[in-house]
């Protein structure tokens, strides 16, 4: 599960990373956002959506995406 701050909400972690980059010589990098990756094995993938909504993310402030082999 990839969890990221919702578009439009100030993400100070992303801002801090973005500001650090030019000092290291990386230019032209913008719109940095720092999110979270949660890896897990699950027997019943149909639970994943609810699992994301109830615990792994707060839908008010974060978006999530379910990745990987969910067959």
């Amino acid at each position: 599960m990839l969890i990221r701050p919702k578009e439009g909400i100030l993400d100070p972690q992303g801002v801090a990373v973005e500001r650090a980059l030019p000092a290291l010589g990386f230019t032209g990098v913008s719109r940095v956002h720092v999110g979270r990756l949660v890896e897990l094995d699950v027997e019943d993938p149909s639970q994943l959506d609810e699992l994301c909504r109830t615990l792994l993310s707060n839908p008010l402030i974060e978006d999530y995406e379910i990745l990987g082999d969910v067959s």
């Binding site: 909400i9 100030l10 100070p12 972690q13």
Partner: protein, 220 residues
């Protein structure tokens, strides 16, 4: 009035909350694994780092046995106060609108703040006057109040802003300077500042006592 103060692993302000509540009534601790609220008249969810605040502040604590009972208690109209981490837990539990995000400057802030009372119409602010200034300390890293614009408009229209940081006192980038909010039923409130640390002249202010006294004067 008998107050119950929830204790999670990682709570750190539960003893101060008990001591503050004891100035206006009786108080006892409620262990997180125990769903029994022992018949208390009001519940305080204190500050700290419940369950280490792993994953996201307040997210795991919200699913503890005691919180399931606190949610029911709140839905039945019982007075509930969330302080700092407790505020975060109540937001995660859906008892209060909005969420708390990392401070704009990503730093821990610990300082005395002036708060302007937004409403005296709640279970925990009846002894205050709207517009009154309270001097209460803040100490947190994740205290930036956030809610979508429409939700903020609704909060203001419904007179549900408990306290705002006074001009120049917003330590964390909270939207519209909001430091605390009131739930729909007006019995549940939450705030980032720590009223339980402002109950004795020795620490510079007794303004925090007003919240506990407001609840103590409720008829239960």
């Amino acid at each position: 009035m008998r107050f119950g103060v929830v204790q999670f692993p990682g709570s750190c302000d539960e003893v101060d909350a008990v001591l503050a509540a004891e100035r206006v009534g009786e108080a006892e601790l409620l262990w997180h694994r125990d769903a029994d609220l022992r018949g208390v008249d009001a519940v305080i969810v204190p500050g700290g780092f419940s369950y280490g605040d792993y994953l996201r502040v307040g997210a795991i604590a919200r699913f503890s046995p005691v919180m399931e009972s606190v949610i029911r208690f709140a839905q039945e109209g019982g007075p509930v106060l969330g302080i700092c981490n407790g505020f975060q837990v109540l937001c995660e539990a859906g008892l209060l609108p909005g969420a708390l995000l990392p401070n704009t400057r990503l730093r821990f802030v610990c300082r005395q703040a002036d708060l302007v009372v937004g409403t005296a119409n709640s279970a925990w602010s009846g002894d205050c006057t709207t517009g009154e200034i309270l001097s209460i300390p803040v100490k947190h890293t994740t205290g930036r109040y956030y809610a979508p614009e429409a939700m903020l408009d609704e909060l203001e229209a419904d007179d549900r802003v408990l306290v705002r940081y006074a001009n120049g006192h917003n330590p964390n980038g909270s939207l519209r300077d909001i430091a605390g909010v009131v739930g729909e039923g007006r019995n549940v409130v939450g705030l980032m500042p720590h009223p339980e640390h402002a109950v004795d002249p020795l620490t510079g202010s007794v303004d925090g006592l007003k919240l506990f006294a407001s609840a103590a004067s409720l008829r239960v």
